[in-house]
Subunit: 225 residues, 2 copies
């Protein structure tokens, strides 16, 4: 199955999922090297920090047409631009935040999004007591206002932070409003049409995985992607 999936991805000129996951890690690490004053970096430096093999890093980057020069390495600026283009984050993505509970409020104030090409453009909730209030400069809108906002703000992505029991209903509204990608924080399996993308972040799952590692003393650093 993994091989079939990999083959299918290559046929469509898509990178395998694991490579795409590593691209984000490379991007973060390049930012760190840049913040430390470097303008060039070798595949070996990247590999060491991320605990990957040098050959793996070079292979991943070659997939996107990037080749380091012996003794010089990669120009960090160029490599960042190439990776952002490959990921699709070479432009700003406005995001609809849907669900203004504790997690929603935390995401509104999360500074990292803007640094990486994302901006919460509008905030929605279906609680009449919240609609019309202002939270961190956002006027909370009714979910009924979504179709209009999708058009006027050019939204295609939503972060979903509503309770589990209403998540599927809200997802149906998001999709019918024109949203095509959902970052889902509700711990529930969502059903969507095949052309809609969903990535679910379930923090209890991450803790379970961590407990497994601790219990089996397998150790190591990993990323949830």
């Amino acid at each position: 199955m993994p091989n079939e999936r990999k083959k299918k991805a290559m046929d469509r000129k898509l990178a395998p999922r694991a490579v795409v996951g590593r691209l984000s890690l490379y991007l973060r690490q390049l930012e760190a090297f840049q913040a430390a004053g470097q303008s060039r970096v070798s595949s070996n430096q990247i590999a060491e920090v991320l605990q990957l093999r040098d050959a793996q890093v070079r292979k991943d980057l070659a997939f996107f047409g990037q080749f380091g020069h012996p003794g010089i390495g990669y120009q960090i600026d160029d490599l960042q631009a190439a990776i952002r283009k490959a990921l699709g984050t070479d432009r700003l993505w406005p995001i609809a935040l849907v669900g203004l509970g504790n997690l929603g409020r935390a995401l509104i104030r999360y500074r990292e999004f803007e640094r990486h090409g994302f901006r919460i453009a509008a905030v929605f909730d279906n609680d009449p007591r919240k609609v019309g209030t202002v939270v961190s400069d956002y006027e909370v809108q009714s979910i009924d206002a979504l179709p209009e906002a999708v058009k006027t703000l050019g939204l295609s992505i939503a972060a979903l932070t509503v309770p589990s029991d209403v998540a599927q209903d809200v997802v149906n509204k998001l999709v019918s409003s024109g949203i095509r990608g959902i970052l889902n924080f509700a711990p529930v399996a969502l059903r969507v049409q095949p052309e809609i993308s969903v990535i679910s972040v379930d923090l209890s799952i991450q803790l379970e995985q961590l407990v497994y590692k601790v219990t089996h003393a397998s150790g190591g650093v990993s990323y949830s992607n």
Copy 2:
């Protein structure tokens, strides 16, 4: 490399990482079936909801000694108990929450943890203005109080929600205090001894991965594990 890693895992009687990741998904889905009034479930039902192959589900569960009966399927109670035992979540895990920013506050109020065998047992911050205040029934403690708390509360896991620039320093303190597993929300690569487990949840990375899927119209539901 994946094959080497897989082989190594099997040698140590550890399940491959992908299987462990799916165990959490099975557990969530079993809860959903149970909530819907079912006491038994077939591998096929699980496979369909999670968009996996039936054979994959049966193989994963067989890894942990669980076998469904033809025409009867799996007893949900038994299967849940076996998966929790395999993951190590058949007991309650007290957690240290370190860093009381917006995300920390959201995690304190996150109800799902308790449902899955986790309980935030103590809250730490190194801001003197926060230490001593009470947030959602937790008295915020100085990070200096960690070694003592690790002993008295039997903590081995921490959720880290501090700013990136202090994350590595705090991690060093966590590890020297006896913490063995860290769920890291700071978007930075952490360095730890090989026996310490870290899982990093970087929400910008999840958004980048989502943008890639949307841009390439690859669609589908996936989980960040």
